[in-house]
């Protein structure tokens, strides 16, 4: 087998998405020097709640929103900084995304991109955070109904959990990498509530097999699986814009039917590899080790393509 060692390249597009900060991801994702931030750190729009807990705040509250160009097209972007409080949603953090989504109706960008990197709602401001999640989902529905595709990119250290997982479910298109994880309850939450026999959060292979990018792609929860580079996410985001599905009653009903069928077909499976086997993967145990290229070949060879209605 011909393996390519990791790129020792210093080119911005070759850098790891997983490793990069939210700002570095935006800088690499968008056309060079086109990013223009709204409510940037200089404005000091910070959490009003964290000082009550004597916790440090961030000048941008871990959410960076703004506009830029993607291959010349105007887009709006929001990026979560997973290294600040695990990218968790608080009042300001959430409000910035709600505001961006509402602005989209006036700006009419080619797409709105959300760079997820979140563990969910910030416990210290849970009510505001939960409200923000609801407002964001409603705003995404309105934005999509207006014909603007909302595209989610998932490949950060914190994954996309809790309310972030719910929001991702309302996006028109999701791009995910191997390191990316997408779920609602996180591994530790499941283990705490149901015990290590149900889900051993320290078994990292189990975590990624159940919540990681490949599994999400195989069952149709994500629409594209990409290498962990900023360039790969950029290419996938570009490809998604013209193909993003419309948002109407018919597409919602189709999505509901798809999810019901999925539950009926796989609901009794004990492990992700069982699901992959039922999907026609000959050697499920080998899937985690596949390169992106080999994984794409596998997807093409399956009797049925992962079907995603959205």
């Amino acid at each position: 087998m011909d393996w390519k060692p990791v790129a020792l390249s210093t080119a911005p597009l070759d850098q790891s998405w997983y490793e990069a900060s939210a700002r570095a991801r935006l800088a690499g994702l968008l056309d060079a020097d086109t990013f223009e931030e709204f409510i940037g750190p200089a404005q000091r729009m910070m959490s009003p709640h964290l000082p009550l807990f004597e916790l440090p705040r961030a000048f941008d509250d871990g959410m960076i929103v703004g506009r830029g160009r993607l291959d010349g097209r105007d887009v709006l972007v929001a990026a979560q900084e997973g290294r600040f409080m695990g990218g968790a949603f608080g009042e300001i953090h959430g409000a910035k995304l709600v505001g961006l989504l509402r602005a989209a109706l006036a700006v009419k960008p080619a797409a709105l991109l959300i760079l997820f990197d979140t563990g969910g709602v910030r416990l210290q401001e849970a009510n505001a955070g939960e409200t923000a999640i609801a407002e964001i989902m409603r705003a995404i529905a309105v934005t999509r109904a207006a014909g603007i595709p909302v595209i989610g990119l998932i490949g950060g250290r914190a994954g996309c959990y809790g309310g972030g997982g719910l929001i991702a479910g309302t996006c028109a298109h999701l791009v995910i990498s191997e390191g990316g994880r997408l779920s609602v309850s996180g591994p530790e939450v499941i283990e705490t509530n149901r015990g290590a026999e149900e889900f051993d959060s320290r078994d990292r292979a189990l975590v990624w097999r159940t919540m990681g990018g490949k599994h999400r792609r195989l069952i149709g929860a994500a629409d594209a699986f990409v290498d962990d580079t900023i360039g790969a996410f950029r290419a996938a985001a570009l490809a998604a814009i013209p193909t993003a599905p419309t948002f109407d009653l018919a597409s919602l009903e189709a999505e509901q039917a798809r999810l019901e069928a999925r539950l009926a077909r796989f609901g009794d499976a004990q492990d992700a590899t069982e699901i992959w086997g039922r999907l026609g993967v000959n050697d499920p145990a080998a899937v985690p080790g596949l390169t992106t290229e080999a994984f794409d070949t596998l997807l093409d060879s399956l009797p049925e393509r992962p079907h995603h209605a959205r």
Partner: protein
Amino acid sequence: MDWHQERTAREARLERARPHADGKIVPAARVVDLLEAILQPGDRVCLEGDNQKQADCLARGLSACDPSRVHDLHMVQSGIVLPEHLDIFEQGIARRLDYSYSGPQGGRIARMLYGGQIELGAVHTYLELFARYFVDLTPNVALIAGVSADRDGNLYTGPNTEDTPTVVEATAFKNGVVVAQVNEVVDRVPRVDIPGDRIDFVVEADRPFYVEPLFTRDPAAVTETQILMAMMAIKGIYAEYGIRRLNHGIGFGTAAIELLLPTYAERLGLKGRIATHWALNPHPSLIPAIESGWVKQIHCFGSEVGMDRYIRARPDVFFTGSDGSLRSNRAFCQTAGLYACDLFIGSTLQIDLQGHSSTVTTNRVAGFGGAPNMGSDPHGRRHPSDTWMKAGREAGGTGDPALRRGRKLVVQLVETFGDKLVPTFVERLDALELARKLDLELAPVMVYADDVTHIVTEEGIANLLLCRTLDEREQAIRGVAGYTDVGRGRDHAEVERLRARGVIRRPEDLGIEPLDADRSLLAARSIKDLVHWSGGLYEPPAKFRNW
């Protein structure tokens, strides 16, 4: 005069044990019977446990023995790693202990020492304990582990040979009894690591012996502070002294150095000039450097979980047997690290104002592992190298230069604050408090001050070779101790004088911009990257896989 008392005693032990064996082969279910037949109260016993491979089936057997029949044993083994290693002291099966390393059991061993449940001989360095096996701590019984054996007892230890040859040598040739647990009994072993006439009984274990992946450091957890320290070590020490022959500790700082060789060090033009010959376990984090052609050869103390296929495919680099798999040997590799390496670099938990260091804290007695042997200046060394001679010149001295010996470089690579923001630099080592409480004559010091040549922290490098007085030495250490109490207690004027003399060097003095210390410098940023570098040959254990 009877000159054969030991041999007669050995024959009696074998005679008692024979009913439980079929030739040399003993089923796992009969282990307790076997051990109760062989062992006598007060025996010196080596229950093979080193820092990786564990004779765990025999350990469980020993701990299931009847304390009224088997008691007051004197355990002489390098590693206290499994719970059973300490259970036997609670049960009264064992009473006295001489050992080297107790990483995972460090907390419990401290409690038992305080509680008086263990009568402690000494905490040794590896070579020191091995040496005493041949002088005054010769085992009566050795309980060892191997991968497979044939019915004659010929033993294949597999890649984790580690302590086995040394333990068997001391026991078998001095009238002792050797029991080996193996994963399987085979018709023909892949290679003979221990000849069958040194093995008395072979126990077919109920499950494969346990090996701890102790030397795997996930590149994903390497921090930018560690990268900065690694850059300083490479530019300020490796390059300046031209260090080719070396040993690395197991911390994340040294893993960062390994991961910077094909990137940062390559850009400095150091390939072939540094880090070519190693006494080192097969660290997965060294794979990118090996694949990039940096490494000429590596001799290993033991193996590392998941590295077997990779090692088999790189026999030019590693020592391998006729069967293709790694041959390691802790005693030889420790000797290599002591006498044939010009640098040891490792980490520690506490450093005092003179530079003494210890991994012992008041509630953990972790022991030493390999560091004290390799982290000491060997006075038995007689061959020169540019590195050794340069360090010797820096240390100064008087008289004919041809009569001045060189110096081994012993480098402590530490962050000023360790885990949970506990300061690494202290006025007084916890080891002294432990020695006082336990009434030990000798405090458990890992590396003595007079052996340490450099301390590297995120604040800079202190070159202790260049210090001429104890006062200078103390200020040099305070001068890199950051915001710890020790660091804040520095004499600023003296520290600046030391800096002007090059005793202390900051990143900027080395031409290093701290903001350049970025994870993108790492040749691998995840375990998966290491797998890719190895061409798919490295097979990391499940706990390190996130795919």
